[in-house]
Amino acid sequence: MSGSAGGAGGRAEADEAAGLVGVVLVSHSSEVAAAVAALAIGLAGGGTTAPVAAAGGTPDGGLGTSSELIAEAAAAVDRGAGVAVLVDLGSAVLTVKALLAEGDELPKGARLVDAPFVEGAVAAVVTASAGADLDAVEAAASEAYGYRKV
């Protein structure tokens, strides 16, 4: 899945999302990435939702990380306000870091955000949908490490 999700769809929605930080969710599994994206969008509530794109698994549907899918997802959610990239583990972390360190595959303003994948995604999408800038989206996602459960 990619692009902004919410109710309206189409051109009007794209305009509403102008200026919002985009969120990319990178997982080894396409199902995990898509489901976490749907969860975060669902919990972001009504109104305008920040553009969210999932980049899960390999292009042939296997488990792994694809730099192409990541680059496509980042381009799809880039509205000029920056892109927060959240990752699960291992090669997802290393691939995004490598893409950011060298080369021009990711849009300017794309940033790897250090956050737990599910909780961080919800925090990032809610914050971005409220119109926060990339620093604030990053801070909200990272703070999710602090939510104690017991």
Partner: protein, 198 residues
């Protein structure tokens, strides 16, 4: 001096070595990893060989930059960004010179290995590809053969180590007694230098 043709031969020889040893790499990876190292690197270096044939970059730096980019985009596992960063950063350090010396390659490869260490947060002794690469960089000033032998020895020396990075680190002490797949493939990469020079 080493020209672009040498670096293309290096990549082709690495691809052949990976083909030859793919089953062994995967066996090593099934002991402490997720059993995909051989297949992943095979896919990556096959793609590297193809793109170098199509685009025929004409400097050592350009050969390695293109090869690295290709590995990042085709491997699909952690070895993609790690080897991709190694080659890209080594290529960047070589700049746009048409020919480089073995000593210059040693210095550049040292920068590449440092970039790998930074990317993965690993140091020598963590049971990773660095355990083959770092001794090879040291020995490369002497000769290609010495670098190959040092990388081999470094890979073998990972057997008694406990993994501290990557999926193998989840195994804790159970990772002891197995040779690290990444160090093993790094030894293939370094060994291919001598083949390219022959």
């Amino acid at each position: 001096m080493l020209d672009a043709a040498f670096f293309r031969r290096w990549m082709t020889a690495t691809a052949s070595a990976v083909d030859r040893e793919a089953a062994r790499l995967t066996d090593l990876d099934s002991a402490i990893g997720d059993a995909d190292h051989g297949a992943n690197l095979q896919r990556g270096f096959t793609a590297v060989t193809a793109v170098l044939e199509n685009e025929a970059p004409d400097t050592p730096g350009a050969v390695l930059a293109l090869a690295g980019r290709q590995l990042i985009s085709t491997v699909g596992g952690a070895s993609g960004p790690l080897y991709g960063t190694l080659l890209r950063r080594t290529g960047k350090a070589l700049g746009d010179r048409a020919e480089v010396s073995r000593e210059e390659l040693a210095t550049a490869l040292g920068e590449g290995a440092a970039a790998v260490a930074q990317l993965g947060g690993a140091v020598a002794g963590d049971k990773t590809m660095l355990d083959a690469l770092l001794p090879a960089v040291e020995a490369l000033g002497e000769s290609f053969a010495a670098a190959g032998a040092a990388a081999e020895a470094g890979a073998l020396a990972t057997v008694p180590l406990q993994a501290r990075k990557g999926r193998a680190s989840y195994l804790g002490e159970r990772s002891i007694g197995h040779q690290d797949p990444g160090a093993t493939s790094s030894a293939l990469l370094i060994g291919a230098l001598q083949e390219a020079a022959a």
